[in-house]
Every structure is written in C-alpha cells, then in structure tokens.
Symmetry: C2
Subunit: 297 residues, 2 copies
C-alpha cells in the first residue's frame, strides 16, 4: 500500500542509493602501490629485501614490480610470493610503440623498461623505489604528494634523484615519455636524465614536490658532510645504496652473519647489516640451493 508517509520514507532510500553509487564510483581506484624494477637476479634480491623492509614498517599499500627476461624463473617464483603484482616487460620483444622508440635509442633499454611503471594504471598513485633502496621507517605519507615529487640528487641538486619518486600512472604520460625519449634521448643515458628533462619544472616551481633528502639518502662510498648525517641521520626514512655501496657487492660472513663493508665508516656498516639481516631472515630461506650457493659465497 502506497501512502504519503511511505513516499517520504522512499526519498531517503533513493538518496542513500545515490550516495552509495557516488561513493562506489569515487573509490574505484583508491589503491596505491610501491613499484620497483629488477632486470637480473642480483637486483631481484634487492627488490625482495626492499619489499620485506616495506612490510616490516607496516605499509598499508600494495607492492608491484617490473621484471625483465633477465630474471630467472626460480627468482621470478620468489618474487611472486612477496609482491602483489608482477609485470614482465620485454622491450626487445615488444611490437608496440616502446619497440619503435627503442630502435631509435638502443642505449636506453633499461630506461624504457623503467618507464613502464606509468602503465600500472590499476593504481591511483605510486611511489617508485629503485631495487637498491631500503625503507627504514614507514613513509606512507609519500602518497599524499603529487606527480612528480622527488628528492634532490647530491651530484647536481637542481636535478632530482630518480631512485625514489611519486607519480600518477597514466597511459597518456607513458606515451609522452616514450616520445620524449625517442626524440630527445637522455643527457645521462639513463632514466634520471630523461625524467629530469621531462619534468624540468621540478627544480624551481613547487616546493611541495621537493621531498626531503631523508626519503632518498643517496649513499656513495664517500660521504662529504658527516655533521649533517649525525644531525639528521635519525630522520632517515629511505637509504639508497648507489655504486659500490650496494649490499650484494659487500663481503658477508655466513657463519657470523656479519657484513664487512669495503668502505666502512659513516654509519654505512649498520645500514648494510640491516639489509643483510632482512635478507637472511626473509629472503634466504626461500632461495634454492644453487641460488644460496651463488649469492652467499
């Protein structure tokens, strides 16, 4: 039986439905993801330790990875147990615009692979982390930043370091990046030169896109400003082991489970030990006998 009262009661129901539909549409793409890249088994170890460091600091976000055919099948299996999404990118075998771009710039193979991070369009926002980074504290607040946010590179701080950056996945941006790479190339032959030219307004336009250096402490073998490290080191959230400071290039004693840095000093030893502790606890048990022999001797 229909009555004015019932009709009035229907209005909130319709309202609720409309609100629900709106909310549903609004929340379609609220997932965020950390994204990394591995082009071989060594960097895969880095990516695995990185993923476990993110889990250790209890990130609320998904973990995604780009891998190339340079990663072996057993390693890919390990990666699949840890990451929420694994995307294999084979730029040499592709028959799309990436391949065309690569034909013009064969030196940019790995760079073209990294650019594929923009194709994770099932996520609303992503933070790219190089596989030689290690997360020391929860930094989920990075997802509040806009594209392209990154920390300055110590080598030339008008440029950002492309080992850690916040971005918004988009096929359109991906296409523009490929076209830019094809026509302009990269001044350093890698992704950092390319991205700095593409996002060239980073240096002088919006301070909110300048991440603190604590989100990407680029650690080379020599460190030039030790007092600052002592003063601000406890705020460090992400360390980036560049060049010869990479953890998997250090000497590791399997009996004592201690790493010996060839460079030593300056707090690097402690950070390398943290990496190896995560490796021993979370990564090593999943490796096959051949892989263990290869990586720890």
């Amino acid at each position: 039986m229909s009555s004015p009262t019932a009709s009035r009661c229907d209005t909130p129901a319709l309202f609720r439905e409309t609100v629900w539909r709106t909310l549903t549409l609004t929340v379609v793409r609220t997932d965020n993801a950390w994204v990394t890249l591995a082009t071989n088994d060594s960097y895969s170890l880095g990516a695995l330790v990185l993923a476990h460091s993110l889990k250790t600091v209890k990130t609320a976000h998904k973990l995604a990875i780009l891998i190339t055919p340079g990663v072996t099948a057993p390693m890919k299996q390990q990666i699949e147990t840890v990451f929420d999404e694994v995307k294999v990118v084979d730029v040499l075998d592709s028959r799309d615009q990436t391949h065309l771009a690569l034909m013009c710039r064969p030196e940019l193979g790995v760079t073209f692979t990294k650019l594929h991070c923009w194709t994770f369009t099932n996520y609303d926002k992503c933070v790219f982390l190089d596989a030689d980074t290690l997360v020391l504290q929860n930094c989920d607040e990075l997802f509040e930043r806009e594209e392209l946010s990154a920390a300055p590179d110590p080598g030339w701080p008008d440029c950002f370091n492309s080992g850690v950056f916040v971005y918004k996945p988009s096929q359109d941006t991906f296409g523009q990046l490929l076209e830019f790479a094809r026509t302009k190339g990269s001044f350093d032959g890698g992704d950092q030169g390319l991205l700095n030219m593409f996002f060239k307004e980073w240096s002088n336009t919006d301070i909110s896109k300048h991440l603190s250096f604590t989100y990407n402490v680029v650690w080379s073998s020599t460190y030039s400003y030790l007092p600052a490290l002592k003063q601000f080191g406890q705020n460090m959230k992400i360390v980036h082991f560049i060049a010869s400071s990479k953890p998997w290039l250090q000497s590791f004693n399997t009996e004592t489970r201690l790493v010996t840095s060839t460079h030593g000093g300056s707090g690097l030893q402690e950070l390398l030990q943290l990496w190896w502790d995560l490796f021993c606890h979370h990564v090593h048990p999943g490796l096959s006998t051949e892989m263990v022999t290869y990586y720890t001797t």
Copy 2:
C-alpha cells in the same frame, strides 16, 4: 603681494618639496653589496680574485669585506684598493655582545666573524660570497631574491650551502643570530650548521629561496655526476672551490703561467686556470716582493 593666484602657485611647489623629501627618504638605502670575508692572507688572495671576477662581469653593486687581525697590513692595503668598504672585526678584542657569545662558544670564532655581515646596514640587501668562490657570469639578479636565499649543499641537500647567500643586513637579525649561536651552537661547528638551524624553514617553505645550484657549484676533488656537469655546466655562474680544490693550494708554474691541479679532470683545471689568470693580471702586480715570493713559489 599675496593673491589667491600666488597661493595656488605655491601649492605645486609645496607638493614638489614633499615628493622630493619622500623620494629622498625612500632612496636612502638602495645600495646593494657583495660581501666576503678574509681571516688570513691566503683567503685575502681569494677575496681579491673574487672581487676582480665581479668587476670583470661588470656588476653594478658595491664590494664589501670583513677582515680579521689575521690579515697583514700590506694585504689590508691591497684589499682597500679594490673593495668599496673594509670592516675589521676582532671578536676576541670586542667588548660587546659578540664577545659575550664567544666566551660561551670559543669554537665558533670565525663563525662569529662571518655573522658580522649582517651589520652592513648601510646596504639594503647583500649577497655573501665565500672567499673561495669565483664569479663566472654577471648574476646581479641575485639581489632580487629575499633573505635567506641560497643553493642546496650537495652533502645533505636539505641544507643550504652557506658559501653563497642573499640576506638583508639588520642589527636585529645580527643580535638574534648571536643569541642563537650562544644558546644553540652549530651542528657542524661552523656558520653553515648555525645558519641552517636559524633559517630552518629554507628546506621546505619557499621555492623562490632555493637558488639554482649554478649559483654555487660546490666543487670537491671528486665529482659524482659528470653528465649533469656536461649538460648544465655552461650555465654555471659561481664556482665554489671547497676543500683541496682551492686555487691557492694548487701547483702553479710562474714561467708558463699554467696551473696544475693535483686532482685534474672534470673541467676543474679550466676553472682553476681562470682564477690564476685573474690573479696574475689583477692581483699579482699589486703584491710586495715578499708576498710574491711567498705566494707563487
């Protein structure tokens, strides 16, 4: 004879006088100055070459310098022929608030001297340049920036490098800096640590206060990002010879008039030669025989 007409004629005259007075008051402090510091004769040579580099690029602004009793009398005479204003600061001998502050923090002697740059209140705005910098292109546009503008330090780019900074002279700010130094000290034992703590909002508040790295290319003996140097090096406006890259620490052949950098490579040699060319052309002729013997053998 007074008439209504004459009275009307007086009004513009009074108006002109008022405008003239206002303009006079307004233009009292429109001078700007480059300011540097020399605590001994070696740094005085740097300051002299720096001053000539500023004249070579035809700066429109004054040159001022702080010197300490560590600078010899003949060198002070040379300095006086080149700089528009020479201020002798003797913090050890002072009987003012500087001396009180120094008693609490004896390790900050040179830092307290440098802070005196804020006392050049006869200038509207200043740019401080360390005596181991060299100006390669006119950069008078720096005076359009506000206090405190500076370029990032490569060692920890959340900090600015205090070798080049734009500031507004003020007795009030000077007093606050002294008090800050007395109570808080400096995390690196020098002016850079102190100024970075005092102007701590620099890192994340206003992008216009982030000078391009080209205004303070900090050149250590090793250079880590050569492709960026190649890409952006032609935009370099001020080079900063830190640590062992200082020009007066290099080997110089008085016959060939060529410098030989102990580090070499990376474009450093050319910049050091430029410094020595300015030295030979403008500074060397004014030095006494003893000074020439001391500095060029």
